[in-house]
Amino acid sequence: MIREKHFAFLDENSKREIRRALLKAVAIPGYQVPFASRELPIARGWGTGGVQITLSLVGKGDTIKVIDQGSDESVNAVSLRSLIQETTGVSSTIHTAQATLIQTRHRIPERPLKEGQILVLQVPLPEPLRNVEPSEYKTKKLHGEADYSGVWLKMFEDIMRYGQVATDADHPVCVNGRYVMAPSPIPRFDNPKMNGSPALMLFGAGREKKIYAVPPYTKVVSLAFDDYLFQRERFAGKKCRLTGLTNVYLDELTDEKTGEVYYQTNDSSYLLEYLNREKEGETE
């Protein structure tokens, strides 16, 4: 017997607290707002921050999309989506353009977002200065003093050692010219999508108990020296096996039968929409 659950699982006080934290976050773009993260039936580290934001915002009229690694069918996305749907009954979709609220782990959808859409990103480690300074007490002060020389120095040292900055995903960005923020482990490929996006982007770190936000049409710049420009992942000479697309983030896969390495569009719904559009074009 499972006791009857409250709409969207969380009690109203919890939702209110989370929404207040969100409002503060939106008012101070890129600033990490501490919040009392609630315990959920989903493990810490598996999206509780993102889920708390979604559950606090979702209403009966919403349509949600939940993706992980760009895919709606990834097991964890399925698990999160079912938690949200079981406790709210809201409808879901795989089509980016039709969703009002998109919760995502590690990717921003390829299809550009529109005004009025909300993107909720799952964050494991919200602190961009953590590598430079282990203490939370100190990093809070550094943010207050806008002292980000530690991050720049690390990038400089990378260039000295390797000839280029060694970041992979989660490359830090400067938001609205003030706070340096960890965009969550999205690939560098997706960083430019945040700049001036018409959508509202919200970031939830449940285990670390922080919420932050980038309001619509905000300037978001990936940190880079003037003479060592920000580099996205390159798929030079590679393209999607199914669509031939080259300007999307690609998965590297191995053909089971032939052992051949091939590439495929990572954003599964984008891939599907593209293939269906092509097909429609054919039948016309």
């Binding site: 003093e145 806008a146 002292d147 020389s149 720049w152 120095l153 400089f156 040292e157 260039i159 000295m160 050692r161 020296f225 003037d226 003479d227 060592y228």
Partner: protein, 280 residues
């Protein structure tokens, strides 16, 4: 002539104590025994220190350990917060603002742009696991430089000046000798061409021959750039070599000051006399 000039650095009635302070000691300096309050155990590391530094001169601060000289340097570099007093720099707001009461951000600006510090312990001034070039770039980055090539070029010029060979510039100071580490610190202190240098026991702990090298380098640099320098040492021979004027500290207070030659020739305070006689 120097009297007419405005000093580049002025310190007035600087106080630094560690502890809560209490009615017995706070307002009554006479109750502090050797800079220490027997009732509340507050340590008065620096008591009522006033001094001025003029353009292009080197002032030495000599005292034994516990005299407060390092605490003084740390306060001037904002490594710790002053308890009281005024700190003015001519290059900042024309000397009109008391920098001790400026905001942390303003203090950081002063620290990056107007001051260069060399610590006795290189681990305090350098990131031992970052390359020598990165250490120097750190200051330039803090000053807002975002161009790698220009920072590398400038680091190399400075490393050249302090005689660090090109082959070692990508290495980390953890692999350098003590003398080399101090030289990297000096290069770093000069990164933003600050008008003022603070040198805290920079040769203490080094071999005598290495000491001589570093001291010569400091003289060379100062001659060329005409920095105004505060040199702290417990070793009067270092002070004698470098400083035009000298200030003697004991138990957190200045007990004697004047031209270095005069102090060496004719020390007034018994403690100074002790120091001078042990030198000869």
């Amino acid at each position: 002539m120097k009297e007419q000039e405005q000093p580049v650095l002025t310190l007035k009635h600087f106080n630094k104590f560690f502890g809560p302070g209490c009615p017995y000691c706070r307002e009554k300096p006479e109750n502090r025994r050797n800079g220490y309050c027997p009732k509340c155990h507050t340590v008065y590391a620096c008591q009522d220190i006033s001094l001025s530094l003029y353009r292009g001169e080197i002032v030495g601060i000599v005292g034994e350990s516990g005299s407060g000289k390092s605490t003084l340097m740390q306060a001037l570099y904002f490594d710790n917060a002053a308890t009281g007093g005024e700190y003015h720099l001519e290059a900042y707001q024309n000397g009109k603002e008391n920098i001790f009461s400026s905001s942390r951000q303003q203090q950081k600006w002063v620290r990056n742009m107007l001051l260069g510090m060399v610590y006795q312990n290189p681990t305090m001034g350098l990131k031992m696991n970052f390359s020598a070039r990165s250490n120097i770039a750190e200051k330039m980055i803090a000053a807002g430089n975002r161009n790698v090539h220009s920072m590398v070029a400038r680091s190399d010029v400075l490393l050249d000046q302090v005689h660090i060979p090109p082959a070692r510039r990508k290495d980390s100071p953890c692999n350098f000798s003590g003398g080399m580490q101090q030289r990297v610190q000096i290069a770093k202190a000069l990164a933003n061409e600050p008008p003022i240098l603070l040198l805290d026991e920079v040769t203490t702990g080094l071999d005598l021959s290495v000491q001589a090298d570093v001291l010569e380098l400091i003289q060379e640099i100062q001659r060329e750039r005409q920095n105004s320098v505060l040199v702290v040492s417990h070793d009067l021979s270092v002070i004698r070599m470098l400083a035009d004027r000298t200030v003697v500290m004991l138990n957190g207070r200045i007990i004697e000051e004047g031209l270095t030659d005069q102090i060496l020739e004719d020390p007034q305070h018994p403690y100074t006399q002790q120091l001078v006689y042990s030198l000869l």
